[in-house]
C-alpha cells in the first residue's frame, strides 16, 4: 500500500473519467455518481497520506520508482514530502467539492465530468511526480481538459478565453521543456530525477546557463502563478470559466506555479535564485498592489475575485522571493516560505469558496454586476453569512486562515526585504477596501426588486462550502497542523538556496 498510494491517488480519477466515457450520455445521474465515487478515494487517501506522513524524516516518502524509458533514463518516479502532502489534499478536496457543486450541470454532463476527472489526475500528478519527464507530462495534461471546460461550459467570451489560456500557458511550458532538457544534459549521469538534480546542482559554476535555466523555469511558473506582468490570461480564463472551473483554476492550478518555484527553481538553481530574488520580490510587490487596485475597480464580481487572486498569489511570491535571497537570517527566510505555503493553502480554500459563492448567486440571478446587487444579506441570510465570512477570510481577518499566512509572509519577509514588505502592507489595506466594498454592494443597502424572489443557498451548495469554511477556521486557529507538516521540508529548501 505504501508504494502504491500515490499511484492510486493520482490515477483513480482518470480511471473514473474513462469509465464515464462508457456510460450512455442520457444517464446523467449515473455519470455524476461515478464521478463522485472515483474522486472520493483520492480525497480519503490524501487524508491518510497526510496522517501517515512523517515530518521528522528527511527525504521523500511513499516513493515508487519504476524504470520507464530506459534509453532516456526516464523513470515513473513518485514521492511526496511536506510540501506536496497538503497540496495533494487541497487538490482532492477542491475537486470533490467542485464535483458536488457541479451536480446541477445538465448540459453534456458526460464530457464535463470525465474532463474534470482527467484534470484532477493531471493536477495530482504534478504534485506527486519526482521525475521531470513525468512532471512535464502531468503539467501539460492539466491544460487540455481546462481548455474544453472553459470553451464548452463557459461564459460569453469562452472561446477566446480558452485558447488564450492554452496558448499563454503553453509558451511557459515549452520554455520549461527546454530547461528540463538542459538539466538532463548537465547532470552526471544524465537523469530526469528531480531529487537527484537538486542534489547535483547541474549548472553549478556556470552562471549564464544557470540564469537561462532559471529564467526558462521562471517563465513557466510565473505565468501559472500568475505574476505581473504574466497575469493577463487570468481575468479572461477565470471569468469565462464555469464556476467549478474557476474554483479549480484559482484553487489549484495557480498553486502549480508556486509549487514549481519551491520544489524546483529554488533548490536546483540556488545561485540564480539568489541573483534574481530581488526581482522576484519587486514583481511580487507589483502583483500585490496592482492586483488589489484593479480588483477595486471591478464591477464584475467574478473579475474582482480573479484579480484578488493576483494579489494573494503576490503574497506567496513575496514569501518565496524572501526565501530565495542570498542574505537574511535562516529563521526569517523559513518563516517567509512557511507563510508562502500557508498562503497557497489558505488561498485555495478561501478563493475556491468565493468562486463557489459567486456561482451560487450567478446561477440564481444571471448577474455579476456588483452595482445591480444590494440588500441580499437580509433576503438570503445563509448565503450572506457565508459570503461575508469568506470575504473577511480573504482580507486576512485574524482567527482565519488568511491572517496567519499573511502574517508569516510579512514577519519573515520584513527581515529580508524590509522596504518592499512594508510597501506590500498597502496591499492588505486595499484588500480590506475592495472586499468590504464588495460585501456592502452585494449584501447591504436597499434590495434591488429584481432579486426579491431569490432563493437562499441550498443543501448541495452548502455541502460544497462548509468544509472550506471549517478548514479556514481550523487553519486560522491551529496553523500548526500545516506548519508541522512542511516546516522541515521548507527549511531544507532555504538551506539549499544558500549552500550554492
Amino acid at each position: 500500500m505504501h508504494d502504491w498510494i500515490l499511484t492510486l491517488i493520482t490515477f483513480l480519477p482518470l480511471l473514473g473519467g474513462v469509465i464515464i466515457l462508457f456510460i450512455p450520455r442520457e444517464r446523467a445521474g449515473a455519470i455524476k455518481v461515478t464521478a463522485l465515487v472515483f474522486s472520493l478515494p483520492s480525497l480519503v487517501l490524501s487524508i491518510l497520506l497526510w496522517i501517515w506522513y512523517d515530518p521528522s524524516t528527511r527525504g521523500m516518502q511513499f516513493v515508487q520508482n519504476v524504470r520507464w524509458i530506459q534509453a532516456l533514463n526516464v523513470h515513473y518516479y513518485m514521492g511526496v514530502d511536506g510540501i506536496s502532502v497538503p497540496l495533494i489534499f487541497l487538490t482532492a478536496l477542491l475537486t470533490t467539492l467542485s464535483l458536488i457543486y457541479s451536480w446541477i450541470i445538465n448540459e453534456r454532463p458526460k464530457e464535463y465530468f470525465s474532463l474534470f476527472l482527467l484534470l484532477e489526475t493531471g493536477m495530482l500528478g504534478v504534485f506527486t511526480s519526482l521525475d521531470f519527464f513525468l512532471f512535464y507530462i502531468f503539467w501539460e495534461v492539466s491544460l487540455v481538459p481546462m481548455y474544453f471546460l472553459i470553451g464548452i461550459w463557459g461564459g460569453p467570451r469562452k472561446e477566446y478565453a480558452a485558447i488564450k489560456f492554452f496558448l499563454y500557458t503553453l509558451v511557459g511550458s515549452v520554455a520549461m521543456l527546454l530547461a528540463i532538457i538542459g538539466v538532463y544534459f548537465y547532470t552526471e549521469p544524465h537523469t530526469f530525477s528531480i531529487p537527484e538534480a537538486i542534489r547535483q546542482i547541474p549548472f553549478h559554476g556556470m552562471p549564464t546557463l544557470e540564469s537561462l535555466a532559471f529564467l526558462a523555469f521562471f517563465l513557466a511558473f510565473a505565468i501559472k502563478v500568475p505574476m505581473w506582468p504574466f497575469h493577463t490570461w487570468l481575468p479572461d480564463a477565470h471569468v469565462e470559466a464555469p464556476t467549478a472551473g474557476s474554483v479549480i483554476l484559482a484553487g489549484i492550478l495557480l498553486k502549480l506555479g508556486g509549487y514549481g518555484f519551491i520544489r524546483i527553481s529554488l533548490p536546483m538553481m540556488p545561485d540564480a535564485a539568489q541573483k534574481y530574488s530581488i526581482y522576484l520580490a519587486i514583481l511580487a510587490l507589483i502583483s500585490i498592489i496592482y492586483g488589489a487596485l484593479v480588483a477595486m475597480a471591478q464591477k464584475d464580481m467574478k473579475k474582482l475575485i480573479a484579480y484578488s487572486s493576483v494579489n494573494h498569489m503576490g503574497y506567496v511570491m513575496l514569501g518565496i522571493a524572501a526565501a530565495s535571497a542570498g542574505f537574511g537570517s535562516l529563521v526569517d527566510k523559513t518563516m517567509a516560505l512557511n507563510g508562502a505555503m500557508l498562503q497557497m493553502f489558505a488561498h485555495g480554500l478561501i478563493t475556491g469558496a468565493l468562486f463557489l459563492l459567486v456561482g451560487v448567486i450567478y446561477e440564481r440571478t444571471h448577474n455579476r454586476d456588483l452595482d445591480q446587487f444590494g440588500g441580499l444579506g437580509a433576503r438570503i441570510p445563509v448565503y450572506g453569512g457565508l459570503l461575508a465570512f469568506m470575504a473577511l477570510a480573504s482580507l486576512g481577518l485574524p482567527g482565519l486562515a488568511g491572517f496567519v499566512s499573511e502574517f508569516f509572509v510579512f514577519r519573515g519577509a520584513i527581515g529580508v526585504y524590509t522596504i518592499i514588505t512594508a510597501l506590500a502592507g498597502l496591499g492588505i489595506i486595499l484588500n480590506a477596501a475592495y472586499l468590504l466594498w464588495m460585501i456592502q454592494r452585494v449584501l447591504l443597502g436597499p434590495l434591488n426588486p429584481r432579486w426579491a424572489e431569490v432563493r437562499d443557498i441550498d443543501k448541495r451548495e452548502v455541502v460544497s462550502l462548509v468544509p472550506l469554511a471549517a478548514l479556514t477556521i481550523l487553519v486560522g486557529v491551529v496553523p500548526a497542523i500545516l506548519i508541522a507538516t512542511f516546516n522541515n521540508s521548507l527549511m531544507q529548501i532555504v538551506r539549499a538556496v544558500v549552500r550554492g
Binding site: 524509458i69 512535464y136 501539460e140 520554455a175 532538457i181
Partner: protein
Amino acid sequence: MKFNLFYISPELILALGGLMVLAVGLAARRGRKLSIISPEILSLAVLAGALVPTVMFFSRAHVMKGIPQFVLSGMKSGMMAVDGLAVFFKIIAILSTAIVIFLSMEYFKGLDFHRGEYYALLIFATLAITMLAASTDLIMIYLSLEFLSITSYVLVGYMKKDPKSNEAAVKYFLYGSIAAAVMLYGMSILYGFTGTTNILSIAESLLSYTLDIGPTHILFLATLFVLVGFGFKVSMVPFHHWAPDAYEGAPTPITAFLSVGSKAAGFAVIARVLATSIRPDVLWWAPLVMILSGVTMTIGNLVAIPQMNIKRMLAYSSIAQAGYILLGISAMAYTPTALTAVIIYIFIYLFMNLGAFTVVTLLSAKLKSDHLKDYAGLIRRAPVHAVALVVFLLSLAGIPPTAGFLAKFYLFLAAVNAQDNQILWLTIVALANTVISIYYYMNVARLMFFRKPASLEPIPQSRPLNFVLGLTLAMTFIILLYPRPFIRLAEMSARIFTG
C-alpha cells in the same frame, strides 16, 4: 557477398503481387463476383507477404551490425543495401499502405472506379518506396523516386471526373517533373566530379578531392540541386507549393498516403545520402539543412492557420512536420543519436497522421465534404471520432500524454546534444512552432466541441475505418506508455551501411 534472392524478396513479392492485383482487378471489372479474391484483400495479402521477410531481416545479425547482407552486384558498388534503415522504411511503407487500403475500402465504396488499377498502383508505389529507401546508387535513387512520383501522380488524379483531382495531379506532375530534372542535373554534376554513381564511392572520391583545393562551391550547388528533388518529395519549403493543392484535390486516402508513405521515402533517401554520401566531413551541409528546417516548419504552421479545408490544413501541417524531421536530420551532422530520433518521429508520425486522416476520410466519404464548417459539432454526431481526432491533433502538436510528445522530446534531446549548442536556436524555433500549431489544431477541436452541428443525425460508422482508428489511437498512447520495443526498433534501424 552471395547473390541471395531472399534479401530482395519483399520487392519481388510486391512487384509480382501488384501484377496479380491488376489481373484480379480485370476479372472483377468484368462483373464476375470474386468476393474473397478482391483487389483490396489481395493487396493486403501481398503486403503481409512482403512484411514477413522484411521483419525477418532484423533478426539477421549482419543487418544489425550495419553490414547489408545483400547488395546487388557486389559490395560497395552495389545498387541497393538491405540495412537497418532500408528495412525500417520497408516496414513504414507496408504499414502505411495497408492503412491506406483500409481507408480506400471505405472512401471508394459504391463509387464506380477501376479498382484493380488503383490497388495495383498503390502496391507499386509501395515497391517504389522500399526501393528508394534501400538505394545506394544515384541512378537507382532517381529511378525509384520517379517510379514513386509517377504512380503518385496517377493516384492523385484518379478521380477522372473530378476537376479538382485533375488539377491537383497536373500541378503535382509539372512541379515534380521540374524538381526531378533539377535533381538529375545535380546528380550529373556529382557524377562528373567523381566518375561514379555509387553513393559510397562518391563519398570516397569527394573526400580525396577536398583534401586539395576542393570544389566546395560547385559541390554545394550540386547538393542543393539534389536536395531540390528530395525536398520536393518531403514538401520542404521552398519546394512545397504542390502539396496543398495535391493534398486537397486528391482522393483522401491518397492524401494520407502522400503525407506519410511518400514523405517517409523522401526522408529515407535524404538521411541515407546526407549520412553516407555527401557526408558532413565531405560537405558541411548542417547550416543549409537547419535553415531549410526552420523555414519549413514556420511557414507550414503559419499558413495552416487561415485554412478552411481540412485536407489543405493537414497539408500545411505535414509541411511543418517535415520541418521538425529536418531538425532531426540537421542534428545528424553532430550526433549519431539524431537518426534514431528521426526514425522514432517518423514511426510515431505514421500513426498520428494516418489516424487523423482516418477521421477525415469518414467525413469525406459520408458527408462528401472537407470543409471545416462541416466539422462543427462533430462530438454529437461521431463522438469517438471527434475525440480521436483531437488526440491525433494534440499528438501532432506534441502535447502529452500522446506519443507525439515523445517523438518531439526525442528530437529535441538529440538536437540539444549537439556540440556547442549550435542547433539550439532551431530547437527554440521548433518549440515556438509547437505553440503556433496548437492554435490551428485546437481550432478544429473548437469547431467539433464548442459549436452546434448542422444536423444531429449520427454519422454512419464504417468497419474498416473503425479498425484503423482503433489501431492508430492505441499506438498513439502505447508508444508513450511502453516505448521500449519501438526504441529498440529505432536503434536497430539507425544502422546505415557506410561501406
